[in-house]
Structures are given as C-alpha cells and as structure tokens.
Amino acid sequence: MSELLVSRRRLLGAGALGAGALALPAWARGADLHGNESIRPGFDEVSGRDIALTIGEGPRVVQGRRGHAIAVNGSVPGPLVRLKEGQPVRLAVTNTLDEDSSIHWHGLLLPFQFDGVPGVSFPGIKPGETFVYDIPALRQSGTYWWHSHSGLQEQAGHYGPIVVEPAATDPVQADRDYVLLLSEFTPLHPHTIMDKLKKGEGYFNYQQNTWTDDYPLSGEDRRMWARMRMMATDILDVTGSTYTYLANGRGPEEGLEYLFNPGERVRLRIINGSAMTFFNVRIPGVKFWVVGADGQNVRPVEVEEFQIGTAETYDIVVEPTGEARTIIAESMDRSGMAVATLASRPGARASVPPLRDPPLLTMADMGMNHGSGGMDHGGGDMAGMDHSAMGHDMPSQGAAAEPMGGMDMSGMNMRDTSKLPSDVRIGPGIDMVSMNPVDRMGDPGLGLDNVPHKVLNYRDLVALESNDDLRRPSRQMEIHLTGNMERYMWSFDGKKFTAVSDDPIRFAYNERVRVKLVNDTMMAHPIHLHGHFFELVNGAPADRQPQKHTVIVQPGGSATFDLTADEEGDWAFHCHLLYHMHSGMFQIVTVAPRGNQPDVKRVGED
C-alpha cells in the first residue's frame, strides 16, 4: 500500500510540475468502483473535446435513509467535468427523465444560448432528447460546478463539479488536488419541501425558541421578536431535520477521506452545491490558506474557518499534520454537518467535534446596525476604496453581537416603506424594510462574529491578478432583496419574477455599472449573476477587487459590486437558495448586443 502511495505521490507531483493535471484518486472522490443499480455516491471524471452526460434517476440510500435521486452518469454528485483553459468543448447531454431537464455551467463564461437556463437561454432538454452545448475556447480557469436549472431537480442530486485547468502554470501549487462538493440529501421530494415551506409554521426548524430553551434571550427580547412576528432562530429555512449533509455525496458517517503524506500541501476545491445550506467550513486545529474564490485566484488569506454560501466555491491550501484531521462543514444553523477526513493512511480518523450552539439573529440582521468586523479598516486595505460605497453614515458600533443588547425597541418601525426607492413595489411581499442597510461585506456570516479564531470575510479577498476593466462605473443602481417569511414570498424590489418576466434588468453592451444589493429581509441571500464575473467593491484597490459570480448579502445589510456588462444576451439573476428562487427571487439580466462596437481590449487580454 505504501508503495502505491509513493508512486501516486510521484505521479501527482509530476502532474503539478507540468500542466497541473492532477488525477484524483477514485476513492477520494467517493466513487464506487463496483457498479450497482442504485445511484452511487461520489463521482467519476470526464474530460476531452467531446463529453457525454446522461441525466437519469433512481433510488438512493444515504446512511440508511431512502429517497429518490436524479443523477448524471449514475452518481450523485455527477461526474467531475475537467476542462482546459483556451480549449473548446462539446458537451452532449441526454435527458432520460420523463420531464424536461437542463445543465447550467455555473461560473463559466460562454455564449448565453449555452448557459443552460430553460426559458432564458434555451428551450431546455426534452425527455429523450440530447442537447449539445458547443462551448468555444474557455476564457478562464478554476473551480466551478454544474447543476440543473429545471424545476427543483438540483435538490434531488442533479449537480457536479467542474475544474478548468489553467493554460499556463497554476499559481497555486500543491502536492494533492481534491474536490469537496457539499450538498444535501433528503428523503422528501423537493416539491414536498416547497409545499411545507409555503404552508409555514417553521416547518423544518426544530431549534425554535421555547419556554425551555437555553438561548441568551431576555423576556423582553422574546416579546420584541414576537411583536415583530419573526423568529430570532430563523437561520435556515430547511435544516438538518430533513437533510443529511453530504461531502461528495457521502453522509458524515460514510467516511469520505482524502489521503495525504505528512509534509504535503493539499489543495481542496470546496464547492457549495447545496440547494439551501450555508456551511461553516473548518479543520479544527489547523490554519489554512484561502487561495481562490468562485474560481478566481485571490491573494492567500490565512484563516481557520469560512462560511460558504450556496453556489460559492473556495479553493484552500492546507498542510495537514498528524495522523488525521477532520474537515467539518457545519450548516449555518448548526443542525447538522458534512464530514470528511484528511487521512495520512486509509482509515485514519481524527475526532469530530460536536455541533456548536445554534446562533441567533441580531440587531444587525434587522438592519439596525452593522456586523462586527464591518469597520475593520486595519492593515491598510483602504487604498483605492470608494468611500461613497461604504456608507460613512454608519451608526456607532457595539451591540451587534448581542442578541438584542437590551435596547428599547418600542416605537420602532420595522417596515418603514418610505425608505424604499420608488421602483420597489410595496405590498404583501415585503414584511420588513432594513432601517439602516450598511455595507456588511466585512461580516464573516451569521453566528461567526464571536468565534475565537480568524474567519474569512469578503474584505479579506483581493484578486491575485489585475482586473481587466479599470473604468469607473458610469452609473449605479440599487436592487432590493425583499421577502415575506410568513407567506414564504421572495423577490427583487418587491416584484416576483411572475410580475417582471417581460421587464428585464437592462445593460448597454460593455456598460460598467455599480450595483448595490440591499437586503430588506432577515435571511442571508447568495445572489448569483449568470455569465459574468462582477467585482466586489470591498475596499480592495480598484484593480484588485475580487471577481465573483455569487455574493452573499447579509440580513438587513448591503453588498456592492461593479459589473462590466460585456457578455451579450439574456442571463438569469437570482437568489441561489433554490426555494427562494422558486418563490420568485429571480430576474433576467439583458445585455444589449455588441453590434458595431469594437471588441474592447483590456489589461491581461492577448
């Protein structure tokens, strides 16, 4: 065995020195080498000029729980699609379901008609049909993923990872290169989950405040929350009460392991492929470096934990020591976790710490303050910062981390609709208006502002390479994230997609726009724009603002990005929480055709 490991290590090392082609060992991906009829956990790998994928369905068992799965090439997650920067690829996708299906290539820059959103970019893939995504030479490298954009199929297992190898040498060098795709399994049909959410009563939340709970809430706090008709424990809509959290398709007891030899550097490409879950990822006792966000290289940031929103990806580099280390991906509400092990020999295990206490929503999440860390101006990362986007009218600090801080809340209007711009439609779909929506991109995420170690936040992210469009935005716009918890309505600007399906958000070709997302709800929303990368206006210099395809907007706060609208066509723009999107938090972004305008040559382009 050790001989095999050595030779594999050499092979891996050779790959790293060359094109960076790192073959993932099958066992590390959880692929079952003995095929059987039920859906396999883990994934194979597909690559080359032509790739064939088949969407199917079947029974699935996770830790003894049975459910129905939609799977691509027979596994959940589906195969790792390995591509190469600068090379074109044809992906032939065959749908064997008895309903329409699709694959969206999440994070890839491509012609909009191959983006894979039925009703926006193409008609979808009919039962029995094969659709060929003919994607020209790839303009990027990094970690991405793919998933269905039809109905709620993504929840049922229709997703998988993408790795695009760089054409040049990868700036991130590691001895081992692994994918960790986080997701959920539920025995419930996705439509059942949608139905329960609509009918309400905190259906999946078994961490509600009660007469007998241990939450640090005073009687006054509890009455205040009750008066608002909201719950301080409303952290995630769907929880571990139905979900088993998965690491590469495996439940926490199913023992996903990544082998390493002491002294090796391990790159983990972490993808949140879940439908509804924010994860807190950590390797207890180990510091690691975040080197990539949403597929784009960033300057290494040393952290001990980070929160990853649905659809985000982070690449980390870790140098594990000891016999084994546990990788914990705890759901944000701490109702469950996905678990994997960094093991120096097969079967080696480290202890798995228990779930931490569930967090509570705070004043900041009501839009009354800013999260701790929001004013972290240390370290000189203010250069090039656009102060106008930072909201210098921030209120005084403090009380953010306290559940209520004992403030007298009487007489406060939690739904002052006069604060909303005129293009927001005021109606039953809005149950709250953030009183003071400050920039919360310095916030590590719900429940992580008081942990005793360094947690990543968006202001830590700095692009490794220079951005290609250094123009100052010619205009700015504001989009409000709106919702009603009780009715389970979610929308942009108070208008569900049903109300605006013929009224997209329009951009001129190559227009550079600053977009501020204001969250008028008490939930965090991971907002995803298809077909583009936008740059977070996070205090990094203008040329190093990190590029992302998905941005979390913290409850009651705002997040701002600069967008160069240079990918013509229609693109989906939505909250990546599946049931929020399905409830209406979806829009189409239209980028006008290039027409006769010259193709803009930018920094970094050939």
Binding site: R299, G380, G384, R472, R487
Partner: protein, 384 residues
Amino acid sequence: MRLLVAMLFVSTAAPAIAQDHSGHAMPSAQSPAQTECEKEAERHRAMGHSVPEGACAPKAQPTEPAQDGHTGMDHSQMDHSQMDHSQMQGMDHSTMDHAKMEGMDHSAMGHKNTQQPEQTTMDHGAMGHGTMDMTPIPEGAPPAAAGSGPPRAADAIWGADAMRASRNALRTENGGMKVFWFQGDRAEYRAREDSDGYLWDVQSYYGGDTDKFWFKSEGEGAFGEQLESAEIQGLWSHAIGPWWDLQVGVRQDLTGPERTHAVIGVQGLAPYTFELDAAAFLSNKGDLTASVEGELDQRITQRLLLQPRAEVSLSAQDIPELGIGAGLDSVELGLRLRYEIAREFAPYIGVEQEWKVGQSADYARLAGEDPSVTNYVVGVRFWF
C-alpha cells in the same frame, strides 16, 4: 508561513521587473515605509534570497494613471498594500524551510509586511487618497443603448415557438405556484355534564400568494342527537398586507332556520403572533352578526405547545329564533396542550368554557339549557 513562501505566484512574478521606479521621483511621504521595506529586503538578501530592485516601490494609482505621471507603466500588477499584514506579524523567518525556497519570488510576498497593521501608522499620503475620485457615481436609468437588443435574445437563436413553452414554465415555476392546504384546526371529542359531544373546525385554501379561494366549516353536536350547528363558508381571500388577508364571500348555515349570509372579514397574524380571524355576517333576513377568533401558539418544547384560544360572538339585534341576543352573544375561552408527532399531526387535550351572555343567556335558560358549559376536550390538529 512556509506555505505562503513556497507557493509560486507566477502571475505576479513577471511584472516585478516592470516595477522599477528608480527613474521616478518618489514623494517624500513614502520614504519611511520604504525604509522599513528596504530593511526587510536587506534581511532577505542577507538570507541569500534575491530581492529585485524596486520590490519596495510604493503602490501606484491604477485608477488614475494619467494623473500620477507614470503614464504607460503597468501599475496594475504592483499593488502590495493588500497583503494581510495582521496575519504576518511576528513572522519567524528562522523556521522557514529554505530548501524549498529556491527560485522564490519575493516580490509576490508583499515586502511591505513589516509595516505595522495599526491604522494610526498608515500613511494616507502614500495611499493616494488625494487622487481618489470622491464624486458619487450618478444613479439613473440605463442608457438608450441598453434597450437596443431584442426583448428575448434566445428567440433569435432557437425561435420564439421553441422558447414559448419553457418561458411560460419558467414564469410559473419562479413565483407562480399555487398551493392547496387543508387544516383541521380542531377536531375533537367534548366531554361535558350532560351528553358528550363533538366539534369540527376546519379550513382550506387553494391559490397563489395574493389571491386564494378559502373554505371554512365549523359545526358541533351531541352524540345521539341532531347537529346543534353547522356552517360552511366559501371566500375569496386577497392579501392586503404582509400578514393580513381580506376575505369576502358567502356562508351557508346547515342547521336550524334556513340562513345564508354575506361575509366580509380579515384573517392573519397580529403582533405577538396572535392568529386572528374576524368576520361580519349579513343574513338573508337582514340580521347582522360578527365573530372574532384568536389563537396563540406557545412553544414549551420543540414539539409541545400550549394554545390559548378565545372566540367572541356579537349581534346587532335580537334574533330569537336563533337564540341570539343583541350585543355580546357568547364568549368561549379554551386552553389546549398539543404534541406535534409531526408538524402536520398533533393530538391535544384541553378545556373550553362557553358562556352565553345577556339576552342570549336568557334565551338559553328559556330553552332549558345551561348558558355556561365546560367542555373537556380530546382531539387532533392536523393539516396537509
């Protein structure tokens, strides 16, 4: 630390050469930091590593290349100010694995890492705040060119006919769903002094977020006797606020004298999470009555709930044939303790006290009934 050092940031390596600012006059404000940096560079050189000249060059202003006199230079690769200095404090170079550092490019490491992370030591002059464009970016409508494309880009590629079905499906799927809900709020056996009885109180809706068809039915009786009362309501329900629905429709009484009522009411969630249902009824005989129901779910544990409940009936006039007196007609107060085996299925026990009031009480006594009745109830609350 070794990790950072050993990672090769090839993309930033090349421009290091292009960073040579030796030919330019540097603002004097930058010299302290530069000195610190140079010291650090010297230490590295002493360690045997190559540190390119100019590695300590200050950050330029890539957003305003024309203003700083460095026109034409590629400053975009130069910014070292973003290194997380707080992480690099106390860096112990003695523990570095020098064997792995061959060919290391120090320029990618950010040689300003000796700079103290405290904001007070930050040299704002060097950060170029003076050249920052502080004028706000204008808000406004998209330029005319934004509307230059076809309204539906995919139609031009796949054809409008091919796209139609998926467009319609997309609209329905993302916010257009309709929901059917049926709830037995109370379905119970009632033990009381005379003959034991039963009660049902169910409601159901079908529709979207804003408009729904709402069905309600309530009735009770004693075992072995005719139904005491029973009614059904069919209502159009329209959301008038985040928590409130306006309901308008018809109520049909199924017992006693033939009565049909027009109904107008509101149902929803009041502050402190009281569930309220208030309605006024105008009968085909011209009688005006009203009722208000309120419930409050109090969680004792995640599955055990205590639910106080109150119902008040009112009448604008005496209706002797129905035993209803003008004013306050009746009051019910109940307390139910239920256990959610599942959210959808929760058996309960409880007690409910009913009072006929005023003229209604007199009518009851005339009919030989007790105007005050205590019920001990066992039932189940369910929904699907």
